[in-house]
Symmetry: D2
Subunit: 228 residues, 4 copies
């Protein structure tokens, strides 16, 4: 039985994790912290839970970037692997995460879907040829209008791998996640599009991550390591 503790348990992703893990006998959720508790979070209160998680326990973080220090402390103190889906870390915090990963295994990712990571892999592989053959490129990122970050973390991640490109962002109604990459030369167009049908795809990624991280001793990993 794998024991889970979720930071950000009442968020969109948190709720979905609960829903899907409920019907899966391999997992048990031992606890979580919601938005309200984040500010008054006291490690002591959860001490017994974390002790109890020592074997087969995993921390999952879909909360807010400001909490990362406390989460890393817990992770190190109780030797609990950590999966981070929270975004918006500054360089300093990313350094702290990197440092912590010398003691514990950490997976950090902006987008836990298989498809986006597959496209990420594709872009890494072909970028050298896009330069060689002088392709121009554009990324269009379309998301629901409650998404705060413009452009999306995912499009920034994809963009960082393609030389010479721009990002256009649409925020509109209920689109979960839609990214389109235009790759254009004078005589041809390549269009690579990703469309999320259901948020469950992100949970699927988390489940893969949990199984994968259990055997790791330490290190900072991405979904690339998990999936491919």
């Amino acid at each position: 039985m794998i024991k889970i503790f979720i930071f950000g348990i009442t968020g969109k992703i948190g709720k979905l994790i609960i829903k899907l893990i409920k019907i899966n006998k391999n997992f048990i959720i031992l606890g979580g912290i919601n938005k309200m508790n984040l500010f008054f979070f006291k490690i002591k209160k959860y001490k017994n839970i974390f002790l109890n998680m020592k074997k087969n326990g995993v921390l999952i973080d879909f909360s807010d970037s400001f909490l990362i220090k406390e989460i890393l402390l817990i992770s190190i103190k109780y030797k609990l692997p950590l999966i981070i889906g929270t975004t918006g870390f500054n360089l300093l915090k990313l350094k702290i995460i990197k440092k912590a990963s010398k003691n514990i295994p950490i997976i950090i990712s902006y987008n836990m879907s298989i498809g986006i990571n597959l496209i990420n892999l594709i872009i890494s592989n072909i970028n050298i040829f896009l330069i060689k053959f002088n392709f121009d490129s554009y990324i269009i990122d379309i998301h629901h209008n409650k998404k705060k970050d413009i452009p999306s973390g995912t499009s920034l991640m994809l963009s960082s791998k393609i030389k010479k490109n721009n990002i256009l962002s649409l925020r509109i109604k209920n689109i979960i996640g839609n990214h389109i990459i235009y790759i254009i030369s004078n005589y041809e167009i390549i269009k690579i599009e990703h469309f999320v049908i259901n948020r469950k795809i992100f949970i699927l990624g988390i489940l893969y991550s949990i199984f994968w991280i259990l055997n790791k001793k330490k290190g900072c990993f991405s979904m690339y390591d998990v999936f491919f």
Copy 2:
């Protein structure tokens, strides 16, 4: 100065080669065979041309599959590299081509565009993961209604690299070449699309091939070798 001889010189591609090479000082077209002459083709008649091509000469074949033996004979006899864009070879003829390539360098390709070969490369790289993560896939091939082969050679080529897939073909008006690959799991869709704006993209591929093949001694190559 690179000397070119074209089999199928009055076809769509043949004409375009002439048009584009005319304005390029690196090339000269020394001769060609059109559809009419194919049936009465006598090597002797062209002997002087082929002798003249010995240095920096390249044969280009966009004619018809039945002529391949004669073309290979010329290629071997006069030591002329050969670029084959003709399609529809049966297994026997493919074997003969392969055998000839032990003496001369040959490039053979169904589709000389950079984009389609890039997508071919992508598919080869990710297919193992499509299987691992249980994606289904469909290829849609859309071409002008004068195209004889259904499905297109290109979609067959792409299809051969993806496990479990079907091809749908549309033949409609003036579309030069449009291929769409749907890759779908239960929760997400990846769509990879290629669209030809202008037939010149094929000629560009031929020009790359010509420069590339000049330095080769022997061997059977694909556009993969040329481009990547």
Copy 3:
């Protein structure tokens, strides 16, 4: 309070209606028939319910085409408006429905989404110009692989309004409903695409239909009458 009775109450749409009407104070579901009961359906058993529905009552049918006669009898006897989403009626049954509509109001539709009916309206409006300017057209219908009818009823409906067209059908994973109409001349392409994000769109159509039909005396209507 609007009183609902659902034929096919345990189907995909039936369940969704229950779920959405539960949280809506304007509606109450007085009863329903599921797949099992369909074969042993006795009107008598439900007599009191139907009597009780006389004011503000609506029958909804998402069951099976073979039950239509009984449903129409109830509808006429108890003067209850009827909304039909069931498909697969033969000409004879369609005639019976038409005849019944001389006494009661009936809405019948293959697809209750706003978007598809909007596209249906578009096609009806422009078809005369597609003929005039010699456009060719193709409809691609993409649905989950549990959908039984190929091509989809919706694509047949759209197809019937466009002269000279073909339908290609893809059945693949979890796609709820995706229709693409290609309209192509020699020099330009128009693509009209509909994509269902969530099945709730069909329920929304049913809710519109219920409000709309309450004031009608008799007649056979489509979603066109409801929406536009």
Copy 4:
């Protein structure tokens, strides 16, 4: 025989008109003004040509907005119908054009393709329902990077007919003209896309306009009047 005079005869469209009219026995080009001559344009010099055009003569303007007064003067003086494809007129100039149309027939259009005008017609027809059913919308306009106006005149025209919408513009390589309209509610997406394969589509629109305007006495018309 229809007699044509072209303002902007050496522009992209001007050249194409010449090329296509050459092989059409119904037309003869009597003259034209290119970019160089525009600044030193003297009506007198062309007097005989305009007199000669009195029967079956049409003026075509794909030049620059600053020349419109002179063109209108000629049009009125010699009673020659006028087709305007030039863009970038300010309100004052549009007023002058309108006023001139009380004496001569004028067609003015931002986009002479059948497809864009068809989509324009569609949008006009459905906009009332987009508002009623609370759809959001976005227009993406993709053009070659030599196009000066951002966003395109066509996307502004389409945009003016849809309530609540935004335009995103991509300028990239050799795309002649590509417009995509996203229409999205919480549960469904409608995408209407137009893609120009070949600039000839604009010339086709001009040919339709020429035949159409010959029988008109006066008035200011759009491609809507010509096509539908």
